[in-house]
Amino acid sequence: MGNTKENANLGLIDTDIHERVMYEELLPYLDQPWRRYITDAHWIQEKHMPYTQPAVAGVDRADARVPDGRPAGTDLGFMQEQLLDSLGHEIGVLTGALDPSPSSMHGWYEMATALASAYNDWQIDKWLDKDERLYGSVHIAAQDPAAAVKEIERVGSHPKMVQILLPIDDILWGDAYYHPIFEAAEKHDLMVGMHHNEPPLHYGKWPKYFIEWHTLIPVSHMNQVTNLVFNGVFEKFPKLKVMMIEGGFTYVPFLMRKMDQQYKDLRHEVPWVNQMPSKTIREHFCFTTQPLEEMTKKEFMQILEQMGSEEIVSFSTDYPHWDYDSPTEALPPKLDEELMRKLLSENARNFYPKLQKKEG
């Protein structure tokens, strides 16, 4: 499966790989009393989705379960074999499994903060230090910006931490309350990665069917892009960039056009926004490809043309999840080699300052 040589030649940078922790693996990284809330009180991440994933093996690829029976994404060796080695990855960016997802917790921010620290230490120990191809995301409890900044100060300077992870749930992160997080990101050459967790995007609720929710995930990404731009985040933090992960990119032309039109009419409401939103999006965002809709080359190129850029889309597999995209199969056939190099490698490298440093 796949074309290892081709990907190696293109220097594949995969911008969405979900490593998964088993709670017991976090225990050595947790002090008391936090540890006992897992061992004695059976803490688990709150989840709200009313349906199980209707794929063959729940949320995961059926062939990604570790041969010894552990859940997909829990074993570095198996991930190396099935993904990194077989497909010729140059770099993979870890984005966690949102379990735990400290920033998604509706309360008990102290526990969330402890979990974030433990997760970061585990991630560094068990993944980033173990495979030179893997880069990581700083997990925080963003509901408490002061504690979040403290954690960013603690691990953000790690050379392999490339971004701060903010889940997309029911908080819009552009509000000034969260700006200290962006300030800390700039300080440490970190970008922000946003990945949906359980956004209640159907008027704050859940639709009847998973297919409805999953179809409209990009709406939750649009909410965040719109919110960040119109709250003046990028005027205030000019070095900051945001990777929108797992929402795809085909919604972007619509959003750019709509935001520009609105800005022409309503600039007076947001006078701190000092340029057309589409320009800000091109300068400050990148969008991961997965889950790719099936498209012809012509259709694909039309979308890029309407975005006005070939530099803000970056390939992602979403391994080991059920809606994984193969780097050798998911993109339309016969894309130009220069464009393939941008999508599979260059755009991500240019996006993350720490990856640029690696190349130098």
Partner: protein, 122 residues
């Protein structure tokens, strides 16, 4: 006249109804399926969507199409092959056609069962 290629891929008893296994046929990786009625079918072991190995998916049934909103009539246990990645459903007994779009189908191979042996031919 070119002689027909015929290769044994498994023994009849290797598969129970509703089971599948991977095999090779010439240069092809194939998935051999035994449907609920005991008949054997074989397809290229590669999803037509993104190339996943179908033999790592699941043989199951599927809710049949209905005119009634909210009605789940799960039928044909053992006759539907679902991809291990995106879960797309293919009908083993209908040439590997995709349930959501019958214009799309898996590449299939002719199966011959003789003397307890399952063979593919072309």
């Amino acid at each position: 006249m070119k002689e027909a290629v015929k290769e044994i891929v498994c023994q009849e008893e290797d598969l129970q109804p509703g089971e599948m296994m991977s095999a090779t046929f010439g240069r092809h990786d194939v998935v051999v399926c035994r449907a609920s009625d005991g008949h054997y079918y074989a397809f290229l072991d590669r999803c037509i969507h993104q190339g996943a190995e179908l033999s790592k998916g699941k043989i199951c049934g599927a809710p049949e199409p209905t005119d009634e909103l909210g009605e789940y009539n799960f039928q044909r246990e053992g006759d539907i092959l679902r991809c291990p990645w995106h879960g797309r459903e293919f009908d083993i007994k209908n040439n590997g056609c995709m349930l959501a779009n019958e214009k799309l189908k898996l590449r299939n191979f002719k199966v011959v069962v003789e003397d307890g042996q399952v063979a593919l031919t072309k």
